[in-house]
């Protein structure tokens, strides 16, 4: 059933117009002068330094827990980071603590293997249920009994827990993110550097952990993630969102905000004029 009243209403027409404008903007892409990557490279430099500090044959735990609603914001940068780590010769062990993260991890593992990543350097540690309790359990044991291969053997030889890794790369969504890692793992395995790639919505929560040194690196905005991806030479077959489309959406949001604000101010003025409200 089609709601024709909605379609013909100003709000409906505005929504259709916005969708059309976004469609055109996506096709136009990112014109010159509208740079998505953050010109302030501090976060990118810290992130790359954290990756560069890993020894050549080091092992990286990828805690893959993004959610479907925010993953598109960091997907292109996450793929760049995974390719970057493999290119440096590091082994990747991928684990998920959320159900959504596990679904996305499986897709990314399949993509990595499909693009020729050596199976000897990519290890699927599976899904661990229990949230923060599972994080604590991983401190002493994270390699499943069924896991085989040189990477699994090397991890077992180093103790089989989180201490076996040279870096934990936390790919986060809104569920179980870097804050839980800092609280549960950072306090128990202080020698394990924690680097995080997160959607913008987590940035306010995580900024204090960067300032206190509890996180070694943080790519916490769309612009920082775009800055990191553009700093690498190797394209990963994924593209960051169109900067023009983001600008169009932001302007539309600003219009909605101004309209709502002007309505509120107008109502207050009317009440003040009629004497029903004191200023």
């Amino acid at each position: 059933m089609t709601d024709l009243r909605w379609r013909r209403s100003p709000a409906g027409l505005a929504a259709i117009a916005l969708l059309a404008a976004l469609g055109v903007a996506v096709l136009v892409g990112s014109p010159g002068g509208l740079q998505l990557a953050n010109p302030n490279r501090t976060a990118v430099t810290q992130f790359r330094s954290a990756l560069a500090a890993i020894p050549a044959d080091g092992m990286v735990l990828v805690a893959f827990d993004p959610d479907i609603g925010t993953y598109p914001e960091i997907r292109f940068a996450v793929r760049s980071a995974l390719d970057d780590l493999l290119g440096r010769g590091n082994g990747l062990a991928i684990v998920s603590y959320t159900a959504e993260g596990r679904a996305l991890a499986l897709a990314e593992i399949e993509r990595l293997v499909g693009h020729g990543a050596p199976s000897s350097r990519v290890l699927d540690l599976g899904f661990r249920t229990g949230g923060e309790a599972a994080l604590v359990g991983s401190v002493t044991s994270i390699v499943p009994d069924a896991a085989t291969g040189p990477l699994a053997d090397a991890l077992r030889a180093r103790g089989g827990g989180l201490g076996a890794f040279n870096l934990a790369l936390i790919v986060a969504g809104v569920d179980l993110g870097p804050r839980s890692w800092v609280e549960q793992v950072g306090t128990r395995v202080p020698g394990l550097p924690l680097a995080a790639m997160t959607p913008t919505t987590l940035r306010p929560e995580l900024e204090p952990y960067m300032a206190s040194g509890q996180l070694a690196a943080l790519l916490g905005t769309l612009r920082d993630n775009a800055g990191y991806a553009s700093s690498l030479q190797t394209p990963v077959g994924d593209r960051p969102p169109s900067s023009l489309a983001i600008l169009v959406g932001m302007l539309a949001a600003l219009v909605v905000l101004l309209q709502a604000g002007s309505r509120g101010i107008g109502a207050r003025v009317r009440r003040a004029v009629t004497g029903r409200e004191r200023w």
């Binding site: 609603g69 598109p72 306010p204 206190s212 593209r239 983001i246 959406g249």
Partner: protein, 213 residues
């Protein structure tokens, strides 16, 4: 490109299904409600099915049933877990006193981990990091601003105590700061959601329609 679908036949089918469902969801903007509702039911059903499969395949079988069937004597703790799992499954049918045991353990465990971690991992280190060391004027000003904002926001949460004029003004200021903070956070959230819409449009244009491939 999302790159979530391989280029084989299964990938092509997956791309088509995803594209058609994306169009159905976007159809809500054009006033189409019934097919949109079907897409919602499909999402709820698939999510439930996925969670069930995940629980059985990646948790119950490899971590409970498998070890117990393999070497029952070596996993005594799992014998304790078994009745808890059974009680959780039948929580809607069992007497309240029986069902309360696994639920209480679950809630207690979550609270213990969360509270302990918050104190040791966040409150204490952040308190230590919040102490402003003597430095330049900028550092001191930043520290003072942070201190004033924190104090005002904390005052705004004080309830049930008679407030004098100064305290009430400070609480009102704290409330506005909280609202300002929430507004800023919504701005961050907007970026995430906007990127999601742009990504879906990009998926239709590039992955499905093949523009620029």
């Amino acid at each position: 490109m999302s790159g979530l679908f391989p280029s084989d036949a299964a990938g092509v089918v997956g791309t088509w299904v995803a594209a058609l469902l994306t169009i159905v969801v976007f159809g809500r903007i054009f006033g189409e409600r019934r097919v949109f509702a079907l897409a919602q039911y499909l999402l709820a059903g698939l999510a439930t099915g996925y969670l069930a499969v995940l629980a059985v395949r990646e948790v119950l079988i490899p971590r409970l049933v498998g070890p117990l069937l393999g070497d029952a004597g070596a996993h005594l703790a799992l014998w304790l877990a078994l009745p808890l799992v059974v009680a959780m499954v039948g929580v809607g049918y069992l007497p309240r006193r029986v069902a309360a045991v696994p639920v209480a353990l679950l809630v207690g465990g979550i609270a213990a981990f969360a509270l302990g971690g918050a104190v040791v991992g966040t409150v204490l280190p952040q308190l230590a990091a919040g102490i402003v060391a003597p430095g330049g004027t900028g550092t001191v000003v930043n520290g003072l601003v942070a201190l004033i904002i924190s104090a005002l926001v904390l005052v705004s949460f004080v309830h049930g105590v008679p407030r004098r004029r100064v305290t009430a003004a400070a609480a009102a200021g704290g409330r506005w700061l909280v609202i300002g903070g929430l507004g800023a956070w919504l701005g961050y959230l907007l970026v995430s959601r906007l990127t999601l819409v742009v990504d879906r449009i990009g998926f239709l244009a590039f992955d499905w329609f093949g523009i620029g491939r």
